[in-house]
């Protein structure tokens, strides 16, 4: 072991955390190198001095001052919390009023179903070769305007003005 290695590992040597082989190496180096031995002794003595410094105690009023500060901190936290709760309640109230107002305005603008103008439902004559019906009756195939779902069309079909295609065909063939 050289002096450089010794200095690098000295902190672990002082703390007695070196593995066995390295510890022996350090001890052997101490016997061989006066400079490192002197440095080791100086460090250990100074640490002894420092570790034995008398401990300082808190002053007599430390606890009472701390208690005052803790009480003030508790009070400040409570006020902050109640302030936050009030702000949250106010935000919720304002948001609710705005939403209700928006809903109210929207409802006024909505047209009732009887105001809706429906596209006429056009009945088309069936193709030739279709099964003849027992009673001569206009055959109607409901045509659904593009984009309207079947169930909505079924509901609205009653209200839609109906033209029978057979009448129109009759009119055109004459």
């Amino acid at each position: 072991m050289d002096c450089r290695d010794f200095k690098e590992k000295h902190f672990a040597f002082v703390d007695d955390t070196l593995p066995g082989i390295e510890l022996i190496g350090m001890q052997v180096h101490l016997t061989e190198c006066d400079v490192c031995a002197k440095q080791d002794a100086m460090v250990r003595r100074s640490l002894l001095l420092f570790r034995n410094l008398p401990s300082i105690e808190p002053s007599a009023d430390f606890s009472s001052r701390l208690q005052q500060k803790l009480n003030a901190a508790k009070l400040a936290d409570q006020e902050a919390n109640s302030g936050r709760a009030r702000k949250l309640a106010a935000t919720v109230a304002v948001t609710s009023i705005v939403m209700l107002g928006y809903i109210a305005v929207s409802l006024r603008q909505v047209d009732y179903p009887q105001d809706i103008v429906l596209a006429p439902v056009v009945a088309i004559a069936s193709a030739p070769g279709a099964t003849p019906m027992s009673a001569p009756a206009p055959e109607m195939v409901a045509s659904v305007p593009a984009g309207l779902p079947i169930w909505t069309a079924a509901l609205l079909a009653e209200q839609a003005p109906v033209h029978f295609a057979s009448l129109d065909l009759t009119a055109t063939t004459r």
Partner: protein, 211 residues
């Protein structure tokens, strides 16, 4: 904890305090978060002196050190509900203390007036007349011994801040390298390197006074 106190017929308060003293830090923290206010006093009692010595040795001002220790406890009180109980409470408390001490030193270096006032306070302490307790000993030896404590404290103060921190945590507080790494937010290699340098520097500064 509070229910245990209620069940006791004689001196319930004392019994609770004794139970708290027997608990480890984690259990005391749990008791406090469960509603036992006296548990916080137990934490204060356990750490006030240690934190005071740590901060005082770091910043060199006893009055300010007490203020900072109180600030540590206030922050602990406010944030204990967020503390990760799988970690060591002492490491957390020392981390807060270390950061407060660092901030104090940083503020001093920026404010020459604060630095001057601190130095002036120390001058006043040196105005005391020397008293020789033992007339058979050489006066200069007595002087050196009497002021050895101040010399040791001044020598520590001469260490660079990041060395001093590690040095105090290891030599005075007995913290492990891993704990020091966590408290100072450094890696293990850095802690070991700083400790090694701090020890050698301190030994060189103090050596002339130890002859």
């Amino acid at each position: 904890m509070a229910s245990i106190a209620r069940k006791q017929a004689v001196q319930p308060g004392a019994n609770v305090r004794e139970q708290l003293k027997a608990m480890d830090d984690s259990a005391v923290v749990t008791a406090f978060l469960g509603g036992e206010e006296r548990a916080f006093s137990e934490l204060v009692e356990r750490y006030q002196t240690r934190l005071l010595n740590f901060i005082y040795r770091t910043i060199g001002d006893r009055e300010k050190a007490e203020d900072l220790v109180q600030e540590v406890f206030i922050r602990v009180y406010r944030h204990l509900h967020r503390f990760d109980r799988s970690k060591k409470f002492s490491t957390w408390a020392y981390t807060i203390a270390s950061n407060l001490a660092k901030n104090e030193l940083r503020n001093r270096s920026r404010n020459p007036l604060v630095l001057f006032q601190t130095v002036q306070k120390n001058w006043q302490d040196d105005d005391r007349p020397l008293q020789f307790e033992d007339t058979t000993s050489r006066p200069d030896d007595m002087y050196r011994k009497r002021h050895l404590r101040e010399i040791v404290e001044e020598s520590v103060a001469k260490l660079p801040e990041h060395h001093r921190n590690v040095f105090i945590l290891r030599e005075l507080e007995g913290k492990s390298y891993e704990e020091i790494a966590e408290i100072t937010d450094c890696n293990l290699g850095t802690v070991k390197s700083r400790l090694n340098r701090a020890r050698n520097s301190f030994a060189e500064i103090v050596a002339p006074y130890m002859k």
